[in-house]
């Protein structure tokens, strides 16, 4: 494992006492358990509603539900349509009739081998297009339906090549994107069959819809968790330039798809991250963040920015240097996101800030004196839990400075004192009370800073006043040994009974 695997996010092992507030950049975990937070526009699989020739006007039901009766009817029609398949168009109409196309019936009737046959070389463009279109919509279905495309994959990939007409290539890319969206297993099949290079090349020209579709398909294809595909993609000649070009010039819809590609590149591959941060991409992301109000665009752009900050120290040490114009720009757009109505933006912006705040003392000072701090303080006391946790990482990081090579941070007393004066301690103590053990650890670590770092022994008094002793005592018998030792150690050290005092 060279440098090409996602760094697992580990902090210093906590030794005897309490250890340090994060003080290290945190990547998002590479393993996804939760639902992918992408808006419907960019969801993993998409139906293609409008037929390839554009002439078929398919009525879409207002109500997405299909009644049983209709479904039955559709199924019957499907079987007969497949029977006489020369007319892929008939089938195509049926498939696109509703939110839930009668894919199952089509598969049962043996549609796939017929469609594969239609894809064979030498077929007319019209026929290719229609077959690919059908496959696209079959692939948009349930997992086993997507899997049914396996025999068709080599041909779909083959039609991505330069010799195909653009509409055919695009339709094939769409179908493949749906397949890649299904999961790791099918992604690996596609990668081993060589789907990546031709898809990547489709991103190079300035053809709006083709680029959009291929970027979307690529973002599905490189999702990992193996970083290899992402690394391979950034190495394809011209891809980096294309990404930059599209981010600079395209409309928001296209920029959104490209930004998702950047998200996965930067989330998974250290190599790609290294390449990206040395390009102009940070400027472009900041620019987009400053000028757009589209939530769908802002999410991947912000996520990309965060990945670049978290993934490569070059970003904070060389690009986002305090004093550079771009650094002020970044802070400004993050403040904008913190102010936004949208929960996701607030959360991700806090995450990015927490990673910048893990940088040098100058970075901390910059954030500390920015407009972000009052916003963060308010969020810490009023926001939902997940945002509060991210905010707490920012504020915690503002209070510790790294010293030298062993990475053990020391206090920045000025920040600590002022943030505590402005009331952040109770927010951290609430985290200690939460069921989330990461948050609880963070809360305890901050409490340790307060206990140790406030002048004149004010710390213990403050913690006491905010009912922090009670919060810590909850961990007396906690199952997580680390937290238990931290909390018990703090209580003993700062609030222990006087034992054995004689005179």
């Amino acid at each position: 494992m060279a440098d090409d695997s996602p760094a697992s996010h580990r902090r210093d092992p906590i030794k005897s006492s309490v250890g340090n507030v994060a003080a290290q950049r945190r990547r998002q975990n590479a393993v996804m358990v939760g639902k992918e937070r992408r808006e419907s526009l960019v969801r993993a699989k998409r139906l293609c509603r409008v037929g390839p020739s554009g002439e078929v006007d398919v009525p879409v039901e207002e109500n997405d539900m299909v009644t049983d009766e209709e479904e039955f009817l559709l199924e019957a029609q499907t079987s007969s349509a497949v029977e006489e398949l020369k007319s892929a168009i008939a089938y195509q109409r049926l498939l696109s009739k509703s939110e839930f196309p009668p894919v199952e019936a089509a598969l049962k009737a043996g549609a796939i081998p017929l469609l594969v046959q239609c894809l064979s070389f030498g077929s007319q463009d019209e026929q290719l297009l229609e077959a690919a279109w059908c496959l696209t919509n079959i692939a948009a279905g349930k997992p086993e339906e997507t899997k049914a495309l396996l025999p068709a994959l080599p041909l779909l990939i083959a039609h991505l090549g330069e010799k195909s007409s653009l509409p055919v290539a695009e339709q094939c890319a769409w179908a493949l994107g749906n397949v890649a969206g299904e999961g790791e297993e099918l992604r690996n099949v596609l990668l081993s069959q060589g789907a990546l290079p031709p898809l990547a090349r489709m991103m190079l020209p300035n053809k709006g819809s083709t680029v959009r579709t291929s970027a979307w398909a690529l973002s599905n294809l490189i999702k990992g968790p193996d970083p290899k595909a992402a690394t391979e993609l950034i190495k394809v000649d011209g891809v980096l330039d294309a990404i930059l070009r599209h981010l600079r010039k395209s409309d928001e819809e296209l920029a959104t798809e490209v930004a998702w590609v950047v998200v996965y590149l930067s989330a998974l591959s250290n190599y790609a991250t290294g390449v990206l941060v040395k390009s102009d991409v940070l400027h472009l992301l900041v620019e987009r963040l400053a000028t757009s109000n589209s939530l769908q665009l802002l999410i991947p752009v912000l996520r990309s920015l965060g990945n670049l900050v978290a993934g490569d120290s070059h970003t904070t040490s060389t690009v986002l240097v305090p004093g550079h114009e771009i650094t002020d720009g970044v802070i400004k757009v993050l403040v904008k996101c913190l102010k936004s109505e949208h929960r996701v933006l607030k959360k991700e912006a806090s995450w990015v800030l927490s990673n910048i705040a893990a940088g040098s003392v100058e970075h901390k000072q910059l954030i500390y004196s920015s407009e972000a701090v009052p916003l963060l303080l308010r969020l810490l006391s009023t926001a939902p839990f997940d945002i509060r946790k991210e905010v707490a990482y920012v504020l915690g990081n503002l209070c510790v400075a790294p010293t030298g090579h062993d990475g053990k941070p020391t206090l920045i007393q000025e920040h600590l004192v002022s943030l505590v004066q402005r009331g952040c301690l109770s927010g951290f103590i609430d985290l200690v009370r939460s069921a989330d053990i990461e948050a609880a650890r963070l809360g305890l670590q901050f409490m340790e800073l307060v206990l140790r770092g406030l002048p004149n022994g004010e710390g213990p008094k403050l913690v006491e006043r905010e009912d922090g002793i009670d919060a810590m005592e909850r961990y007396q018998f906690h199952e997580n040994e680390d937290l238990r030792n931290m909390a018990n150690g703090l209580v003993d050290k700062y609030f222990g009974e006087d034992y054995g005092v004689d005179e």
Partner: protein
């Protein structure tokens, strides 16, 4: 071990005999089993026996238990050297076979055997699942689906129980990529089958409950158990974050959850254990929705209102019932989570808070029969919960947590309402004190529990009531009540209040009540006399602003006789014979009061008779610790006042201490040695011959082999060396002591103890006495350096050489070393001293080695020679590193330097220091305040003698950073190196 009829016969016989009431065959069977357990395939054979239908069920059960324990110790044997004999691990092929067999065997077993095998499976899972056991989850899932087809709930619940235990790790481990990978694997394989079985069981419950008479309890019970297990698995799988599958199917889960909170199942719930069963399911549901509320409130939002009202109405019923604790607690926790979330406005509506207070909080805070029972039957447990914070899961505490939760956003409303409630409770008490005493208890509990904790462990403050007023009007009447045994719970509550608010009560008031506290030591209730002792003990620790104790010896001396008398009497109450609160109070009083001989005499009598008693069977470590502390402080204070008392103490204590030594009461040996040391120190030479017998123990290598004894033995050796150096120097005893050093220092596991002995000798004896032994000592050390060189040893060596130097001078050091081998000193210096010096940690050690090193540089002719200028410079470089850089920069992975002296008071292998028998830690260089200053001044003086010489050596040999640091130090101390 091969599986054949003989093995079957052998094992069956053994397990049968392990059940025998006769000790002889039982022990024999146990020992042949433990011998057989070391053989390959033993585990497999036992598992086969468990599965053998022809064998008697009783034998198979015993075998199942044995199998589980066998896996516990041997699946992955512990590496901890403190653990008893190292077990041979089970080999891979055997493991594989066990893993292949266990699931199906578990599922087909009878309930009792099933539960043992399920635990055994969990043991394997803990180490092997999922990566080294990829077949487990698919096997469980396919069996689950099979069992579901035939509605075989014995198997279903066995599988779910197993899954539940292997998934538990997701509840408390940190989120790492590895953990998430495991979680994802479990979700991919189990999330869908879990939902399937949950829904299937749910509909079975619905249809059964809808049938005539609400369905048969026999049918329904396993179904509820099954649902509970599903809920617990839900909790584990959802703990880290909300998985996609669960988000997609939230509606299905939440629908059933709500049903269980809002539906009654009379046919099951009509029996107490049936109700408990359904309540457990409900409690599990409450935990799940609390988790969602806290961590996924956005996705959960749509269900919140329904659940809040369901939980509320459930609580209104449950709060009135005296059992149903678990459900009451989890349900209140859910409301607490809501109250502190962004959706707290649910509580903002007019009338909500008063109603919660009235119908949920007060009923749950009120004492229930169970509380009274614990109060009477198990006072230790009652105190643990009531006073020491182990009440995190009691209804009383959680009800108060709910109030605190609501108060985060609605402080004023809560305070107002609670104040009113308290007034109401007190008026109700006033109207009929003997009938309504629980109302008063409830009021006191509310005030104490809602107070904010303060430093010092148990002190508090509140803005709920005016403390002085409340104390005077509510608490004092209880304390002054003449009947110490009437309404004991109310008395306990009042004393607890006094203890908690002790800092707020003024000194004259306390004095007025002090005789009452002393009186309550005589209460029959264990809780009451414990609380009285605890209150007195805590009062004696109260400090004024400046840090001085508020209550001094002159304050309490007038009461001491009666106080001590009552304390010793309290120890005679049944079950209070080893009451730690009373003993701690004795220790504290002895520490505070003036100890005249009138007091000393009865105390020493009382304490020794207790000591004799506990020696027979030491069981309560905390009690015993305070007992020894009390003895130590009594000896010290009484003898310091009146040295003639020493012999009286010796007379009464020696028999007990002798018993400890001769019966080898392991737990007490360190204490005994410390008490001996204290007595030796208080003796005037010549030392009584009695002690020489003890001294012989010091010379026995066995005493030193137990690491828990070593610090105490060192202490005792120090005392002897200081008080009786002549005795040591007779009859070859010194060489015996050095023999012990020799033995200990040769092994890396005991070398530190060896240095303790050596350092004590070096520090306390004259050079003239030592010099004949020095060659031998150096030889031992050099040999060890050659054979087993560890960093820890090298550090100890540098510390020893430094100590030798400051005690006996640089010349003696150099000469005795070179006497072993010509010029070895410079070799040791270059190869060990200089590089190791930088690694020294510990304040005293750092000071000692730094000062010794600079003295070597400035005083030793060997080093002042121009030919060794480079060494001189390197040594200085190390010294500057040592004194100018923080520890964590100098030292990489610090291995434990001192024997592990844990602070906890359990006493198997750890040494427990008696505070009151201790000496201040010795600083061999007490006259040097600031080592840095000493070092810089020495350098300046030295350089002044040969100007121009040293700056050059410094430039040539010191790291740049160290040159700068040295420069800074010089200007700091106003010195120059010329």
């Amino acid at each position: 071990m091969e599986w054949n009829p003989e093995t079957l016969q052998f094992l069956s016989q053994c397990f049968l005999h392990t059940l025998s009431p006769q000790p002889e065959p039982r022990r024999a069977a146990e020992s042949s089993l433990s011998e057989a357990a070391g053989r390959p395939n033993y585990g497999l054979a036992v598992l086969r026996l468990v599965a053998e239908p022809s064998v008697d069920e009783q034998i198979r059960q015993a075998a199942a238990v044995n199998f589980k324990n066998h896996l516990r110790t041997r699946w992955v044997p512990s590496n901890d050297p403190n653990d008893d004999p190292a077990f041979s691990p089970i080999l891979e092929p055997e493991k594989d076979q066990i893993k292949t067999l266990i699931v199906s065997l578990m599922l087909s077993a009878s309930p009792r055997i099933q539960s043992q095998l399920s635990e055994a499976l969990a043991v394997i899972g803990k180490h092997d699942f999922p990566k080294s056991w990829p077949t487990l989850l698919p096997e469980l899932v396919s069996n689950l689906q099979k069992a579901a087809q035939s509605a075989d709930y014995a198997s279903i619940n066995g599988i779910l129980g197993t899954a539940n235990s292997i998934f538990k790790k997701f509840r408390y481990q940190y989120k790492t990529n590895d953990l998430l990978l495991d979680l994802k694997y479990c979700l991919d394989n189990f999330a869908a089958p879990l939902l399937e079985i949950f829904l299937r069981t749910a509909s079975l419950i619905d249809s059964t409950a809808a049938s005539a008479g609400g369905g048969s309890p026999v049918t329904l019970r396993p179904l509820f158990e099954s649902q509970r297990l599903c809920c617990r698995i839900f909790y584990s799988l959802n703990f880290q974050e909300l998985p996609e599958f669960f988000e997609d199917h939230m509606r299905e889960w939440m629908g059933e959850f709500k049903k269980y909170l809002t539906t009654n199942y009379p046919s099951v719930e009509s029996s107490a254990d049936g109700l408990a069963l359904v309540d457990e399911l409900r409690a599990a549901v409450c935990e799940n929705i609390s988790l969602y509320m806290e961590k996924n409130e956005e996705e959960f939002q749509g269900y919140l209102n329904d659940f809040a009202s369901a939980v509320w109405s459930l609580l209104t019923t449950v709060s009135l019932s005296s059992s149903r604790d678990k459900l009451a607690v989890t349900a209140m926790k859910f409301l607490t989570t809501v109250s502190t979330s962004v959706h707290h406005t649910l509580f903002a509506n007019e009338g909500v808070i008063p109603q919660i207070c009235q119908s949920i909080v007060i009923p749950n805070v009120r004492l229930r029969d169970e509380d009274e029972e614990v109060f009477e039957m198990n006072y230790v447990e009652f105190i643990r919960r009531d006073m020491e914070g182990s009440d995190l899961d009691t209804r009383r505490r959680i009800a108060c947590e709910l109030l605190k939760g609501i108060a985060t956003n609605y402080k004023k409303q809560v305070m107002d309402i609670v104040s009113i409630q308290i007034q109401n409770l007190l008026s109700s008490f006033a109207a009929n004190p003997s009938a309504n005493w629980k109302d008063k208890d409830c009021a006191i509990y509310l005030v104490v529990s809602l107070a904010t904790k303060k430093a010092g462990g148990t002190s508090v403050s509140t803005d709920l009531v005016d403390v002085q007023n409340f104390f005077a009007s509510v608490i004092v009447p209880e304390l002054q009540s003449q009947d110490v045994n009437g309404f004991p719970m109310l008395k306990a509550g009042a004393i607890k209040f006094f203890t908690m608010f002790r800092g707020h009560i003024q000194k004259p008031v306390v004095f007025q009540l002090f005789p009452d506290l002393v009186r309550f030591l005589g209460a029959e209730s264990n809780v009451v006399h414990s609380y009285a002792a605890n209150c007195i003990e805590k009062l004696l620790l109260v400090k004024e602003e400046g840090g001085n104790a508020r209550y001094t010896s002159s304050d309490i001396t007038p009461y001491v006789l009666v106080l001590m008398n009552n304390l010793f009497t309290a120890l005679k109450f049944p079950e209070s014979e080893e009451n730690q609160y009373v003993m701690k109070c004795i220790m504290r009083v002895l520490g505070t009061a003036e100890i005249s001989s009138e007091i000393a005499a009865p105390c020493i009598g009382g304490l020794t008779s207790i000591l004799n008693e506990v020696c027979k069977n030491p069981k309560s470590p905390i009690f015993n610790h305070y007992l020894f502390e009390s003895v130590a402080i009594l000896i010290r204070k009484a003898c310091e006042r009146d040295a003639s008392l020493v012999s009286a103490f010796e007379a009464s204590l020696f028999p007990s201490l002798q018993t400890i030594l001769s019966n080898d009461v392991t737990e007490f040996l360190p204490y005994a040695f410390q008490l001996f040391a204290l007595l030796v120190e208080l003796n005037r030479p010549p030392i009584s011959p009695n002690y020489m017998q003890i001294f012989m123990l010091l010379l026995s290598p066995d005493s030193w082999k137990r690491s828990s004894n070593v610090p105490a033995l060192v202490r005792l050796l120090q005392a002897f060396l200081q008080k009786a150096p002549h005795e040591l120097n007779q009859e070859g005893r010194l060489s015996q002591v050095l023999g012990i050093f020799n033995m200990l220092v040769l092994s890396p596991s005991t070398d530190e103890q060896g240095f303790y002995v050596l350092n004590t000798v070096i520090e306390n004896l004259e050079f003239g006495v030592l010099s004949p032994y020095m060659s031998n000592i150096w030889n031992v050390l050099f040999r060890r350096l050659q054979d087993r060189r560890t960093v820890k040893f090298q550090k100890s060596l540098v510390i020893f050489m430094s100590l030798f130097l400051v005690k006996h001078g640089a010349t003696n050091l150099v000469n005795t070393m070179n006497a072993v081998q010509a010029n070895i000193f410079l070799v040791i210096l270059e190869q060990f001293w200089i590089p190791t010096l930088k690694l020294i940690t510990g304040k005293i050690e750092l000071k000692l080695t730094a000062v010794a090193s600079i003295r070597l540089l400035c005083e030793s002719p060997v080093l002042l020679d121009a030919s060794v200028a480079r060494l001189w410079g390197k040594m200085l470089d190390s010294i500057v590193t040592l004194i100018s850089r923080p520890e964590q920069e100098r030292v990489q992975e610090e291995t434990t330097e001192m024997p592990d002296i844990a602070e906890n008071v359990g006493y198997t292998a750890t040494f427990v220091k008696l505070y009151n028998a201790g000496k201040r830690e010795d600083d061999p260089l007490a006259d040097i305040q600031d080592p840095k200053q000493f070092i810089i001044a020495s350098l300046a003086t030295l350089s002044a003698r040969s100007p121009g010489r040293y700056p050059q050596i410094i430039t040539e040999n010191l790291e740049q950073a160290n040159q700068e640091a040295l420069h800074a130090l010089c200007s700091n101390y106003n010195c120059t190196i010329v």
